[in-house]
C-alpha cells in the first residue's frame, strides 16, 4: 500500500502551492497515472481523503487521468499500444522493451477555491 505515501507526496506539493497562493483551499487535485506506474487507482481513492485531513486539501476531489502504455518496436520503427503483459509488436511479433509512455506518475493540476 504505497499509495498512501504517493497521495501524501502529491498533497504535500499541492498544499505548498496553495499556501503560496495566499492559503486558498484546494477544490480538485488531478493526477496523471500511467498503466505502468505501479499504483492501484482504487487504493489512491481510498488513501486520498485520509491524507487530506487537516490540510488545505480537506474535502477536495481527486481526479485521475489514466495514461495507456505506448511502446516502440525498434525493428519496425513503429509505435504501438500493447495488449496484456507481453508487449509484442502487432506487425512482427517481437516483444518490445522500449516504453514510450505509461510510466507517468504526475501531479498534473490543482483547482483552488
Amino acid at each position: 500500500m504505497h499509495e498512501v505515501s504517493i497521495c501524501a507526496a502529491a498533497v504535500r506539493a499541492a498544499v505548498a502551492k496553495a499556501e503560496e497562493m495566499g492559503g486558498r483551499r484546494i477544490a480538485v487535485l488531478r493526477l496523471r497515472i500511467g498503466a505502468l506506474a505501479g499504483v492501484v487507482p482504487e487504493a489512491l481513492d481510498f488513501a486520498y481523503p485520509v491524507v487530506c485531513r487537516g490540510t488545505l486539501a480537506e474535502g477536495s476531489r481527486l481526479e485521475l487521468e489514466h495514461v495507456p502504455v505506448r511502446c516502440l518496436c525498434e525493428p519496425c520503427g513503429k509505435e504501438f499500444s500493447p495488449q496484456g503483459a507481453v508487449y509484442a509488436c502487432p506487425s512482427c511479433g517481437v516483444p518490445s522493451a522500449r516504453i514510450v509512455s505509461g510510466r507517468e506518475l504526475e501531479l498534473a493540476q490543482i483547482e483552488l477555491e
Binding site: 505515501s5 506539493a13 499541492a14 505501479g38 507481453v86 509484442a88 516483444p95 493540476q109
Partner: protein, 221 residues
C-alpha cells in the same frame, strides 16, 4: 465556481525521491561504487543468495549491504560475519524502501573503501517498482516454487529488471518446474533483462551471477 484558480504542475509525484536517488547515484559514481537493488516476493531467496555471495566474494570485492525489512533484523543478522559491512534499514511497516531510507542507512554503513553496494529491498513485487534508490541495476528474483507465470502476474516490476535470477533451481525437478515456459514468460515480459538460473543452496549458476557483478564494477578511483 467562476473565481476558481487553475494551477498546472506536470511534475513527478515522487520528484523528491527521484532527486535524492539521483544524488545517491552521483555519489556512487564519484566513489567508483556499483550499486544493485535486489527485489523479489518474500521468500524467493534474496538473503540466501546474498549470504552465499558475501561468503564467496569475501576478500575479493569490498562490499556493503543495506537490508530493508518491515520490522526485524533477522536478515541482517544472517548476513553479518561474512566479511561485508551490513546495515539493517527498518521501514516501520512501509512496504518498500525509499531513497531517504537508503540515505540514512548509508550514513550508518559508511561508503569509504567499498566497490559494491547491495540493497536487499523489502519482499514485495509491486511497490518497490516506482521507487528509484539510486541503484545502477535492478535484480529481480523469482523461485521455481512460485510458478512459471510470475513475470506475467507482475509485469510492472519485471519490466524494470536488468537481470532476472530464477532462484532455487535445485528444487526444479521436485516441483516439476516448466523451465521453457518460465524463460518464455521472462523474455516476453522483460526482453531487456538478462536471465540466469541459480541455486544459493548448491551454488549452481552462481559463477555467472558473480561474472555479471564483476563486469559492472566501476574502475577503482
Amino acid at each position: 465556481m467562476e473565481d476558481r484558480l487553475i494551477v498546472d504542475f506536470a511534475q513527478a509525484v515522487l520528484a523528491e525521491n527521484d532527486r535524492m536517488a539521483a544524488a545517491l547515484r552521483a555519489e556512487f559514481d564519484r566513489r567508483g561504487l556499483f550499486c544493485v537493488n535486489v527485489l523479489s516476493s518474500p521468500g524467493a531467496g534474496k538473503t540466501a543468495l546474498l549470504e552465499r555471495t558475501l561468503a564467496d566474494l569475501a576478500g575479493q570485492i569490498p562490499t556493503g549491504v543495506l537490508v530493508g525489512d518491515l520490522a526485524t533484523d533477522h536478515d541482517a543478522a544472517r548476513l553479518r560475519g561474512k566479511g561485508a559491512r551490513v546495515v539493517q534499514v527498518t521501514t516501520d511497516g512501509y512496504c518498500h524502501l525509499e531513497a531517504n531510507m537508503v540515505r540514512a542507512g548509508l550514513d550508518a554503513l559508511g561508503l569509504d573503501g567499498l566497490r559494491l553496494l547491495i540493497v536487499e529491498n523489502v519482499g514485495n513485487l509491486v511497490c518497490p517498482a516506482s521507487h528509484d534508490l539510486g541503484e545502477h541495476a535492478r535484480v529481480v528474483l523469482f523461485s521455481v516454487t512460485e510458478g512459471e507465470d510470475k513475470p506475467l502476474k507482475y509485469p510492472t516490476l519485471f519490466k524494470t529488471a536488468d537481470l532476472v535470477l530464477v532462484s532455487k533451481i535445485d528444487l526444479a525437478e521436485a516441483v516439476e518446474f516448466r523451465r521453457e515456459e518460465a524463460l518464455a514468460a521472462v523474455y516476453g515480459v522483460a526482453p531487456q533483462a538478462e536471465v540466469l538460473e541459480v541455486s544459493a543452496k548448491t551454488g549452481s549458476g552462481l559463477e555467472h551471477w558473480y561474472a555479471w557483478l564483476r563486469e559492472r564494477l566501476q574502475p577503482r578511483v
